[in-house]
Structures are given as structure tokens and as C-alpha cells.
Subunit: 357 residues, 2 copies
Amino acid sequence: MSKVIDKNMSQSKVLENILFDAEAIEGLRKLLAERRPTKVFFLVDENTHEHCLPVLLQALGELPHTEVLEVAPGEESKSPEVLVQLWYAMSELGADRHCMMINVGGGMITDLGGFLAGTYLRGISFVNVPTSLLAMVDASAGGKNGINLDSLKNRVGLFLEPELVCIVPQFLESLPDREMLSGFAEMLKHGLIADSEYWGECSRFPIREQAPSGEMIRRSVEIKSAIVSRDFRESGLRKVLNFGHTVGHSIETAGMQTDDPLLHGEAIALGMIAELELSVKFTGLSKEEKDSAVRAIHGIYGELPRGFKSSDLLNFMRSDKKNIGGEIRFSLLREIGEAVPDVSIGEEDITKALKHL
Amino acid sequence: MSKVIDKNMSQSKVLENILFDAEAIEGLRKLLAERRPTKVFFLVDENTHEHCLPVLLQALGELPHTEVLEVAPGEESKSPEVLVQLWYAMSELGADRHCMMINVGGGMITDLGGFLAGTYLRGISFVNVPTSLLAMVDASAGGKNGINLDSLKNRVGLFLEPELVCIVPQFLESLPDREMLSGFAEMLKHGLIADSEYWGECSRFPIREQAPSGEMIRRSVEIKSAIVSRDFRESGLRKVLNFGHTVGHSIETAGMQTDDPLLHGEAIALGMIAELELSVKFTGLSKEEKDSAVRAIHGIYGELPRGFKSSDLLNFMRSDKKNIGGEIRFSLLREIGEAVPDVSIGEEDITKALKHL
């Protein structure tokens, strides 16, 4: 596969509905003035209600007719039960076709709120204001939303782009360190699969000391948007975004069953280490590039939990919703900055790679 | 507004995914052979499970990997609770992205099943096999699906076209007479809003003695599809399909609160009578055309329930989800075969028209 990202794409249409920093607030203000929604519904969790919503409301100025829908923080709120409650709440609060929903929070909120808005009255206008680094660099582009069915993540949902995504790094100020590191894993991944220069920049960035700038975040979003815009419904190219995720998701699922579950990006960091090993054997990644990448990831994340049972992880991989038939498929690297989707690998080789964790 | 329907559109693209009679079965067989879904899920209710599914299965021949999901008949199954149960059921039965859903039933089944398929794993392939006349002429085209929130009809759902709609009039053989008459109201409406010749044909058709032919049904579907294809998301033109429905829906809602609820088409027949009266005053329909249309509707439906309170009906009209702000809007007729959307009418005039019921 040839390189998917042209460095000059930054000004292209793919980022049309994603705005950054002051432009983001200005864009949202303009959209509200144009649309004049009958009512604005903010979906928040307890944390973003306290830390982010007031900042946003102050920046936006006076808004007539607002309602705030608050859910409990955490993945548990991405459930059918909460979704149904929210459908009823919107209805009781008189939401009509010309109201607008603004989702203010991490990926849980933007996933849940996007699905809520996409289905209420067969779809009302919605805007995402991601407040975690992970949501900014990952959930902001691609139009995926949805809820979980118990432990089955995103089992139900839609592909649907928000009208606008506002990325305001100021919100990262209240983000816990571990959450910051979790989001950073996706930035590293974007470099690894599509842009070796960006990978270099990220791998040297002192993420434990400072938040990434709007510019750094923008490049991640550009990479993801460029890939997604060429494959909106995930039939081919888009799969390269799954690098690190076949193993990573299984680790995340295994972690959920312990007392100290891993964050998504922590699991993906481990997943990338295992899949870098597989890339050497199956897609010709050089041992030197692999070693330097693994070293960088270890340098950033330090000690991550170990000791997951290979047989458990394999079980979870087998039930991944991306599988076709019984095969376990990976997106791997040919070199740093270039990914290859759809590599089927046998269980014996997977088990060997897991030993490196 | 000029005529929206060109009589020569029958061969056009709008009916591409809707097939009739033997072609429908053949088309479905071909689609299954091409797609080779990992599993086929049939959604049925008790009645279509007994009367229609066996016929369909026999016509299709051997299918590997099928599952049948059965829900209780009646509008109550179009609920969040049933939807959530079905999401879990599909998941437990191992539905993956490459399975296919075939909805076999009336509008309740195609609405519920379309929403289920459109959201499970962010959308799997689905086919509708409408088995009631109403579902054939109304729900088959337009891509609307969804569920109710208590008495709020279709409060949640999607605009999403099925991959294929199979219209097989043979299924009408087991349809009760009252259901047949209910579906026929939409056929009459299609004539009234878009095709005076078709209206003439329908208004003389002995619907109490025989089922309409595939050809007659096809013309109804053509009219609806042509309107919908020009306005998929219901911003303008599509509203002409609401003729008879502003009053009709309010009567349907009022009827739900009695021991003997009206069927959709029965309420629409009454709604059309009231809106024919309004058309004379507001959109210049001639008194002669109005009188002949009202006479024809009475001739077909005979005695329909009366005695709804105007104030109740007005209340329901006010809360219709199609309203913008507080106005009550209608789609009315300029002449038989030509409709005008978006006519705002004051409550006094509406009350007068309701007296004709």
C-alpha cells in the first residue's frame, strides 16, 4: 500500500467540520447564530458539567433556551438503559426537530450523544466538544458513535458526522495525567501508521510535563480524517487505524475484569508493542525501526501492567467484531509511517508476539 | 407548485430497490447468493411467523444459517424495551457485520427491523418484505424507520433505505378486511396528491371484494418514491405526503384512548375528508372536486367512528412533531392530483372543518 497521507492535505476538505482553539468557539457561535435552534441541549457528565461546561458557556455568551442533560461519568453510561432514559428526557423537555445537541466530554459523551442526536426524531443537529485528549485525536473524526451492550463495546451505533467538532486544548487543563497519556497513544499510532516525521515529533515530546498544542493535535486529526474520508464505512483503508488495536482491545477487555482496569490508550500502547513484533515477521518492518519504536513507547509509558494470559487474550481476539469468519486479522507496519491492513495471522504466531509484553 | 410526478418515471431509478411479484422473490434470492451473509435473521411477529414466513422460505429455497426473531404483534412492540431485547438477542446469536436481516411483516415490523438493522454494529444489510397493504404502499418507500416512546409515534429512528424491498401481493391473502381498507387509504391519498387518473382508478376499485394487483400497488409506490427521492430528509416537497395526516394523526391518537382504536388508514380517511374541506377554503380546490372525493371516500369506508372532540384533536395537532413553533400546518389540494405543502391555518378554521366529520 502506498502512503495514504499527503502532507499538503492539511488545508483540504477533510477538516472542514473540525475547528481548533479560538476558531472553534467562534465557529460554534456562528453556527448557533445561523441555525437559531429552538433549544440547545448540552450532554455532559458530572466532571465536564463542573469543569468544562461553565468555560464553554462563558465563551459562547448568552444562549436562550438551554437544557443540560447529565449522566454519570464512566463507560457504564454508554448503555441502552441510559440511552433510553435520554430519549425520554429529550422528549419530555420538548426537543423538536430544530433543536441542537452539544456533547461536552470525553469519548463516552461524544459516542453516546452522537447516537442520541442521530436517532432522536430520526436525527437532529449535533456538535461535539471533546474534552479529553483521546476524544480530541480519536473520537473527533470518523463519525463513529454508539453504545455498549454490557462488555461488548460499540455493539450498537451509527456512522454519522457531527455538524461541527470544536477542539479547545484549554479543556485539557483539568485532565488527569493518566488520561493524557491514554490519549497520547493514539497520536503515536497516527505517526506510526502514516507519518514518520510526526512519529518522531511525538516520540520525543515530554507528554508527562505538558499538554500537546492545538497544532500537534491538529496533525493527528488530519491523519485520521484523511484516512476516514477515503473509507467512511470501514471497508478497507480505514482498517489501518486498527494498528495496535487487535491486541490492544483484547488487553483492554481482559483489564476490565480486574480491579484496576487499563485505560484505552494504555492497552493500545501494549497492543502496539506486540503488533510491532508481528510487523517484523509479517510485513517486513526492520528490526531497527521496531526496536526504536518499542523503546520510545516504553520510555513514555514506563511500567504497564503485565501478566495477561495469552489464551484469554486470544479468546477475546477471536470474538472481535471486526473478524470475518474465524480469522484473526491485524493492521501492521511495513515501515514507520506506512501501514498494511488485513494481515491474517495464526494463533501460534500471535501467542509468540504476546510473550513480548 | 407544479405537478411532482411525471407519468413516465415508472422506469426510473426511484424504484431500483423495490421489486414486485415474482421479480421480488427472484431479486431476494439473487441478493442472498451474491452477499452470502454469514447468517440471515428474520424478524417476524406471531402472525407473519405463521402465515408469511413459511411461504417466503419455501419460495427462497434452502438457506444456511437462519435465525428467527419473533415479537408480539401490534404497535406495542415498536418500543425501546423490545428494541433493546433484540439488540441483545442478535448479539447473543452471533450476528456479525456480514449477516443480513429480513423483516417480514407490516409497518411495525419493517419500522422496528429497519432501526434494529441500521444501528446494530453501526448498520448491517437489511431487506423489507412488507406483508400488509399499508406497509407495501406506505412503509416500503422513503427509508423511514423507528420506534415509539409510549404514545409518541416514531419519536426515535433513522432515515435509511433497505437494500431491497420485496412486494409480494400473495401475502395479502391472509390480511383481514379492515387492514386492507386501512392500507387502501394511502393509495387514495397518492392519487389525490399526485395523479388524478390513478385517483379515479382507485376510487372506483372494489377494494371490499378483491385485493389490488401488483400493478396498482406499484403506481402508489412510484408516486411515493418519486416524491421522497427528491426530498429524502423531509425538508419540503415530501410534506405533500402528509395530506390527510395532520387531522388524521390527531384522530388516530384520540382513537388510541378509546376501547376501539382506529387503524391508521381509517383515521387518514377521516383526516382527508376534513382536509378536503380546508382545501376548498385555503388552496382553491373546487367544491365539485371536493364533493366527489368526499363521496368516494364515504362510499369506500361507510360509517367510520365520529364524535371526537375538536378541542382534543386540536391539542394533539399542536403537539405534532412536524410543527415549527406553535403553528399548525397542512398539506392541502389545489385540485385532485396536485398538492400544496406548508399551509398554516388558524384554530378557528380547523375547528370548522372538523365539524364535517
